[in-house]
Amino acid sequence: MYIMIVGGGRLGYHLTQALLDEGHEILLVEKDPTICDTINSQLGSICLRGDGCEAATLEQAGTSRADMLIAVTGDDEDNLVACQVAKHKFKVPRTIARVRNPRNEYIFKKLGVDVTVSSTTIILEQIEHEVPSHALTHLLAIEDRGVEIVEIRIPDDASTVGKEIKELPLPAEARLLLTIRQDEKPFVPKAETTLAAKDQIIAAVPLEAEETFRAAMLGS
C-alpha cells in the first residue's frame, strides 16, 4: 500500500517506522526542514518537506495514487484540511485524522473524514475497561447505524442476579449477543437464561438506549 502521513512529530515518526517495517510504501510530509532532515537521515529518504494541506505539495507527493492518508499534526484544523484535500481533490480512498479535542471526532466524521483517532477517547475507554466501577464498557460504535457494541459486567450485588433475561425491562432494540461466564464456554443468551453474578454480557444497543439498557441489566 502507498500510505501518506502528514506531520512528522513523535506520532508521525513512530507510525512511519512501524508501517515501513510492515513493508508499505510511506511518504511523510512535514513542514519543518530540520525535522525533515533528521527523519531522512534516520529512516531513509521518505520525508517530503512541505505543507500537507497545500494541493501543490500533495500533487508532488503523488497523492492521487495513495491508498490512505493519515494526518497526525498537532493541530486539529490542519489534520481536517489535509484529509479533506486528499479526499476531495485527490480521491484518496481512506483518510484518517488525529483529533486533539475529542469533541471534534463527531465534527470530522460529519465533514467526511473516514476515521478519527483521539488519544483522550482511547485512554478513557481503556480506563473504563480497567476500572471495575464502570459496569458498562463501549467496545465498538457503528455510528452510521446508530448502534454500539457494549460489554456489561453483572456485579455480585446487582438485583438482577438470578433473574431470567425475559424478566428484564430491556429496550426493544437491544440485542444480547454473548454471555461470558466463569468456567463455561461463551454462549448466546436466551430469554430463559438466568443471570449470574460476574457474568459478562456483550450486547448491541442503540446509542440513545444505552442508559435504559444499563439500568435494566443492573436493576438500578
Partner: protein, 132 residues
C-alpha cells in the same frame, strides 16, 4: 441581522465596526484579548474571548440563532474548519470565510463554502491598476 465575526484582526474589526454602524447585532470573537483594541471605542456589539473552534464558545456567541458567520483569522485551516462547523453543524444561513491560498479556496468553493482569497482578489486589483 445577527452576525458573528471570528478573528478580530484588521479586517475583522473593520467589518465589525461597519456592520455595527449599519445597525446589525454583531459579536466579535477572538482568542487574544489584545485584538479587541482594534474595535472602535463606540462599538455597540459584543466582544467575546475564546477559541472559535470550540462548540461551547460558538454557542456562547449565539451561533444557534445567528444569521451570518464570518471567519477571518490568520490561519486558512482554522477558517476552513470554523466555516464548516458553522455551515454544517449549526446550519447558519450565511457563512463566509477567508482563505489566502487560492488553490485551497477553489477546492472549498467547489465543496460549497463561500470563500474569498485576498491573494487572488488583490493580485487582480493590481493588474487592473497596471493595465488600466
Amino acid at each position: 441581522m445577527k452576525v458573528i465575526i471570528m478573528g478580530c484582526g484588521r479586517v475583522g474589526a473593520q467589518l465589525a465596526s461597519l456592520l455595527d454602524k449599519d445597525g446589525h447585532q454583531v459579536t466579535a470573537l477572538d482568542s487574544d484579548p489584545y485584538s479587541f483594541r482594534r474595535l472602535p471605542a463606540d462599538f455597540g456589539g459584543e466582544a467575546l474571548l475564546g477559541n472559535g473552534l470550540d462548540e461551547d464558545i460558538l454557542k456562547k456567541a449565539g451561533i444557534e440563532n445567528a444569521d451570518a458567520f464570518v471567519v477571518v483569522t490568520q490561519g486558512d485551516n482554522r477558517n476552513v474548519m470554523a466555516a464548516q462547523i458553522a455551515k454544517h453543524i449549526f446550519n447558519v444561513p450565511k457563512v463566509v470565510c477567508r482563505i489566502y491560498d487560492p488553490l485551497r479556496r477553489d477546492l472549498y468553493a467547489m465543496l460549497g463554502l463561500e470563500a474569498i482569497s485576498p491573494t487572488t482578489v488583490f493580485a487582480q486589483l493590481l493588474r487592473e491598476k497596471l493595465e488600466g
